[in-house]
């Protein structure tokens, strides 16, 4: 069976500036893949190519085995859903109306909504815990609730591939988990394949099967979190000091960036955690 998404040797330029350079990437059916890279590494561009919003200068994109360039816009929209960024939706739209926009590719121009459309919207609202917000104005929601509503919108589109561009941006810790839990739930229940551009390597490790590292428009590494979230690779990707920790219970590498002046475990410039560890060590061994 052909994979959900294949990007083959895709290149893209904005004017003279090359943003993607022969990038190749596959997302299998039912797979959850995270895209990591510095700002400007080409994550958003890659997602735009995958959803057909932009076309590659060279190379090709296949959705479920079909060339995206040969598909009609409506067919693309029935195959792949893109979670919108928090877009400036004009006031007056209710939560369920916004989520209902997801059904656009399924409804004929002069047709009304079918029972299937209403069921898809109701289900997406229930999965994201937004059923309590029915009848409320979209612009009256908090940032986190809006983000959930946009996840619901992508869910209700009922596609087999879901593209997310930094779905947890601007959210508090709890909301980040809420959004990714809803996505994971969708992945497990309906086998929806997911490709998400992520900034947080810890969440990427916790939720995704595979990590693709992008640097300057090229795929630097592609594999399970244990192989890709390593200090040398991440330092290369972000051009920063990175520390990877291991938690035996979680079983995935937890990566974080380090302060430029951090002297691990010692001195006043150490991280708070490092200082605490240092203190504990000196207390247990007063002779050093």
């Amino acid at each position: 069976m052909s994979p959900a998404l294949e990007v083959r040797d895709a290149s893209f330029k904005y004017g003279e500036r090359s943003v993607l350079d022969n990038a190749t990437l596959t997302v299998g059916r039912g797979e959850m893949v995270a895209l990591l890279g510095a700002n400007g590494a080409g994550k958003t561009t890659l997602l735009r190519l995958a959803s057909g919003v932009s076309a590659p200068f060279s190379g090709e994109v296949l959705l479920f085995g079909r060339r995206l360039g040969d598909m009609r816009r409506r067919e693309v929209a029935r195959a792949v859903a893109v979670m919108p960024q928090d877009s400036a939706i004009p006031p007056g739209w209710s939560v369920e109306e916004v989520v209902g926009l997801s059904r656009t590719p399924h409804i004929g121009l002069l047709r009304g909504e079918s029972a299937a459309d209403r069921r898809a919207v109701a289900e997406a609202l229930a999965v994201t815990g937004l059923d309590a917000f029915v009848g409320r104005g979209f612009d009256s929601l908090s940032g986190g609730e809006r983000q959930m509503a946009l996840v619901a919108l992508a869910i209700a589109q009922e596609t087999d591939l879901l593209l997310l561009d930094e779905p947890t941006a601007h959210l508090d810790l709890r909301r980040r988990a809420d959004v990714l839990d809803a996505v994971q739930d969708l992945n497990e229940r309906r086998g929806v394949a997911v490709l998400a551009a992520m900034h947080d390597p810890i969440l990427a490790a916790l939720y995704f099967d595979r990590i693709v590292l992008l640097a300057e428009g090229r795929v630097l590494a592609d594999g399970p979190p244990g192989e890709t979230l390593t200090e040398p690779l991440l330092e290369k990707v972000y051009n920063a000091r990175v520390r990877v920790l291991h938690d035996d219970e979680l079983g995935v590498p937890l990566a974080t960036v380090l302060p430029r002046r951090a002297h691990l475990g010692t001195g006043k410039n150490a991280t708070a955690a490092g200082q605490a560890a240092h203190r504990r060590r000196s207390e247990s061994n007063p002779h050093t």
């Binding site: 409506r74 929209a77 400036a88 739209w93 109306e97 926009l101 656009t104 009304g112 409320r136």
Partner: protein, 370 residues
């Protein structure tokens, strides 16, 4: 005050605040709104056709209409003068006003939807200046002749409106895209350019002195029809235009999310934008051809309707058309009766009445941000 009152009160207040803040769940049922707008439309047409310098009794009016429309062959209990006034003068004018208002209401909703801009109105892409230039040229050249029952002034106004919008669209195009900011800016530029050309023609054109009054009257707007002739073409054309507008409702809804997002929902964005602009330009051009420059209807009516029925275009577009029609009929009625036998141009009355009316609506619903 008992303890339970204290407890109940904040909850009650909180709920009140909840409602005022959110409003949306208190939208009336749409069947109620459309029923009301339909009734208002019929009633406004009947009343406006009955009233005027020679009023006709409502009973006679209904009988005349039944007699003319229906298979019933009734004994004449009304004067022939009443019948002639109603059928040859008032009804065409009132229905003309209704169609103009409906077209402008629909076109305004289309433009506000495609630009996602509350200041957009049917004239935002220069159609008013184009129509004005066309009309003034036709007047100052004292043209004669007719096409499909339309004289030179309506014809040139229609062509001017359409031409201006197509010019704006082609100027705003960048490669295969037409960004909405380019469209709006090109609309402003072309609008003021054509407006200046129009002023030049008024100032320097032949036979200006004699025509200044009719030029001015046209620019202020007023329903000008010769009986049923123009309506035979206009009515079906406007109905087709409004149905076409309705078919664009879902793409317009999706565009509320943004253009890239609409594209992700399967909407061919550039084609949809062009279709919306062309349909709106046709509706506007047809309207101004018989009404001159009637302002404000296309700006205010969609906003007022949106406050009541919400922003989804499948409801907003037809409701704006019905509301715009009824509104213009009533405004035109006022304009021709309050200082009879003189008439206030309908374009003036729309702004005189519509402005305050809209401000009241706006202040009652502070939550609604334009």
């Amino acid at each position: 005050m008992t303890a339970s009152d204290v407890q109940a009160d904040p909850a009650g207040r909180a709920r009140g605040a909840f409602d005022a803040r959110l409003g949306i769940s208190r939208r009336p049922r749409s069947s109620l709104v459309f029923g009301g707008l339909g009734l208002l439309s019929v009633a406004s047409v009947l009343v406006a056709a009955a009233l005027g310098s020679a009023p006709i009794a409502l009973r006679d009016e209904v009988l005349i209409l039944l007699h003319t429309l229906g298979p019933l062959d009734m004994a004449r209990s009304w004067s022939e003068a009443d019948e002639a006034i109603l059928l040859q003068l008032r009804l065409p004018r009132v229905l003309g006003a209704y169609l103009v208002g409906a077209a402008l209401g629909g076109a305004g909703a289309l433009m506000q939807g495609v630009f996602r801009n509350p200041l957009a109105d049917p004239y935002v892409l220069g159609s008013s200046a184009g129509a004005g230039l066309g009309a003034v040229v036709a007047m100052s050249l004292s043209m004669r002749g007719a096409f499909l029952g339309f004289g030179p002034v309506p014809l040139f106004a229609f062509l001017g409106a359409l031409g201006a919008v197509l010019l704006v669209y082609s100027l705003a195009r960048v490669g295969w895209r037409t960004p909405t900011t380019h469209l709006l800016l090109a609309g402003v530029a072309v609008g003021s350019f054509l407006g200046s050309l129009m002023s030049l023609v008024i100032l320097l054109g032949p036979a200006v002195e004699a025509r200044l009054r009719s030029v001015f009257a046209w620019l202020l707007g007023g329903i000008a029809l010769s009986g049923w002739t123009e309506l035979r073409v206009l009515a079906p054309a406007l109905v087709v235009g409004l149905v076409a507008a309705w078919a664009l409702a879902r793409p317009l809804d999706a565009l509320a999310l943004g253009e890239a997002e609409a594209s992700g929902l399967g909407v061919p964005v550039e084609r949809a934008k062009l279709a919306v602009i062309v349909v709106a330009a046709l509706l506007t051009g047809l309207a101004v051809s018989i009404s001159g420059l009637v302002g404000f209807v296309g700006l205010v009516v969609p906003h007022a309707v949106r406050l009541v029925i919400g922003p989804a275009h499948r409801k907003l577009l037809p409701a704006s058309a019905l509301g715009g029609g009824a509104f213009l009929v009533l405004v035109d009625l006022l304009g021709r009766t309050v200082i009879a036998p003189n008439e206030i141009p309908v374009g003036l009355t729309t702004a005189l009445l519509g402005g305050p009316f809209f401000l009241v609506l706006l202040r009652r619903r502070r939550r609604y941000e334009l």
